[in-house]
């Protein structure tokens, strides 16, 4: 028979557990609610389609920062996606279970844990200084590739591993080469998973600041080449908050960021669901 105190503890503990959930949810609501409440009124067509004036004023819109962000993501993906997929294919399809593979895996794990600002230091030393790309979108993108590589590799590898082993056997048994098997069966089957990985990386690229702060320069002007400096939406929030008094513009930009992130999360979940279904054959 349960004694009273066990029941009371149970109640108390459950209250604590539910309390934890409620607080977490409240934190999210407060943060997102506050930013949207403060920021949404500042978002209009003009805000989205004019360039920021930069500097002290904080006036103007966010067009050039959106363009810089897109440039940055574009170059980052051009490098990141092939290397990431290649690396994931190696780990999931070729890598023997030996010391070398363990070293590679350890390297990826370690890289994933390194703080953004260290990547920034590295990018500053290598891309900005030694390779003389200066403070530029290119330097930022190269730094970002290094930062995002572990995410891209591990998420893609998971997608590849989710492809049934029996497909591989079936393909090989039909007399395909290993690469035909990978490129015609494994990779196509994993496409939704790989797309999810790419979107995940885009989401992180949009939110990243520290490593870009020290490699991208931060010019608010519309970039006309990759060797020019630029500022992403996230960097713009930082500059607005720290260098101007335009908190309304900072909030509006932050609201844009939050909306993008919400959309990206929804898209990822949708794709992940599709992927599961497809692999289970309910398509």
């Amino acid at each position: 028979m349960l004694n009273v105190s066990a029941k009371q503890t149970q109640k108390l503990a459950m209250a604590g557990i539910w309390g934890g959930g409620v607080i977490t949810l409240l934190l999210l609501i407060v943060i997102i609610g506050y930013v949207l409440l403060q920021g949404l009124p500042g978002i209009n067509w003009e805000f989205l389609t004019t360039n920021p004036k930069g500097g002290l004023s904080g006036e103007g819109g966010i067009l050039s920062t959106v363009v810089s962000t897109l440039y940055l993501i574009g170059i980052t993906l051009v490098l990141l996606v092939p290397i990431g997929i290649g690396s994931a294919v190696y780990l999931s399809e070729y890598a023997p279970n030996n010391r070398l593979t363990r070293i590679i895996r350890y390297g990826i794990e370690t890289l994933a844990g390194i703080p953004s600002i260290i990547f920034g230091l590295f990018g500053y030393a290598l891309f900005v200084t030694v390779l003389s790309f200066n403070f530029s979108i290119l330097s930022g993108a190269l730094t970002l590739v290094c930062l995002l590589l572990p995410t891209m590799i591990t998420t893609t590898e998971e997608a590849l591993k989710a492809v049934s082993y029996s497909y591989r056997e079936a393909a090989l048994a039909l007399g395909t080469t290993k690469w035909q098997m990978i490129s015609r069966i494994v990779l196509p089957s994993a496409i939704p998973g790989i797309v999810t990985a790419v979107i995940l990386c885009i989401g992180r690229a949009i939110g990243e600041t520290a490593c870009l702060y020290v490699t991208m320069g931060g010019s608010a002007a519309m970039p006309s080449s990759l060797l020019e400096g630029g500022r992403t939406l996230s960097l713009h929030v930082f500059y607005l908050a720290m260098e101007t008094n335009a908190m309304d513009k900072a909030m509006a930009t932050a609201a844009v960021l939050i909306i993008i992130i919400i959309l990206i999360n929804a898209l990822t979940n949708l794709l992940a669901g599709r992927f599961q279904k497809r692999l289970k054959g309910i398509s």
Binding site: P96, N97, S164, S166, Y167, E169, A170, A171, L172, A173, L174, G175, T176, T177, Q180, R184, I185, P188, S189, R278, L279, G281, I282, S283
Partner: protein, 267 residues
């Protein structure tokens, strides 16, 4: 034994010839000293208790064991008199010649048509007319054409289990192999679907050499011409106990262990 008279035709008695075959996973010996001649244009069943190495043996025949890191082979397997483990043998060509059907139906998550066309495409057949012809013929040979001819564009995963397995057989047929290996092809299917596959196997046996690993002794007795009985030795290595015409193995086994197994005394 050089020639058989089976299925109303004369067949080469040693289409596939395993000689002093030993197979290891790392330090573990999975097969010991296998000597076995498999006739062409016939169905050979491999039976035996779980873990006796019968699936391992089957997978050696098209070198699927190559995929297993740390596996090692001694001895030879000859296909039409040529050792398949020879350096100059192209494993991709070998697998094209020696097709395989797996335990669980494993159609690719693409359309029915693309499933069948996949193999020929990889082997360089590109023209649409050619591919359409191959798909139709393969599906007809696999007795699936009438059921799917109107929905070739649909996902293969939407088919029933039995249909999927016949699709997999059709897929193997599409690359025109000489030998078809079947690894317990009916273990995931219901009795009706199993019967259909068995009928299909009998039909195919006229033109193909079929080797089937099965748990189901009735199935072996029903479909096969010759039967090999494998067993595990005390150190867990699999070895061949007895081999002969199916009728003889099931009615008059020479080895006591075969008799025990067939009459259900163990296994």
């Amino acid at each position: 034994m050089t020639e058989y008279n089976l299925n109303g035709q004369t067949c080469r008695g040693d289409k596939i010839k395993a000689k002093n075959l030993n197979f290891y996973y790392g330090s573990f010996q999975a097969l010991r000293d296998i000597n076995l001649d498999i006739p062409g244009c016939a169905i050979t069943a491999i039976i035996g208790p779980s873990g006796c190495g019968k699936s391992s043996f089957l997978r050696l025949l098209n070198r699927m064991n190559d995929l297993i890191y740390g596996s090692r082979i001694e001895g030879t397997i000859e296909l039409d008199g040529k050792n398949i483990f020879d350096k100059e043998v192209d494993v991709v060509d070998l697998r094209k010649n020696v097709g395989m059907v797996f335990q669980k139906p494993n159609p690719f998550p693409i359309s029915i048509f693309d499933n069948i066309a996949f193999g020929p495409k990889q082997h360089g057949k590109k023209s649409k007319i050619e591919l359409e012809e191959i798909v139709e013929n393969s599906l007809k040979k696999a007795a699936l054409w009438d059921e799917v001819k109107d929905k070739l564009g649909q996902s293969a995963l939407a088919l029933s289990g039995g249909q999927q397995q016949r699709l997999c057989i059709a897929r193997v047929l599409s690359v025109e192999p000489q030998v078809i290996l079947m690894d317990e092809p009916c273990s995931a299917l219901d009795p009706m679907a199993t019967l259909k596959i068995e009928d299909l196997m009998r039909t195919l046996a006229k033109n193909y050499t079929i080797i089937i690993v099965t748990h189901n002794m009735q199935q072996a007795a029903r479909v096969s011409d010759t039967t090999a009985f494998f067993m595990m030795e005390p150190d867990r290595a699999g070895s061949l106990v007895e081999y002969g015409l199916t009728s003889e193995i099931f009615t008059n086994p020479k080895d006591k262990r075969t008799e025990d197994y067939i009459t259900g005394r163990f296994g």
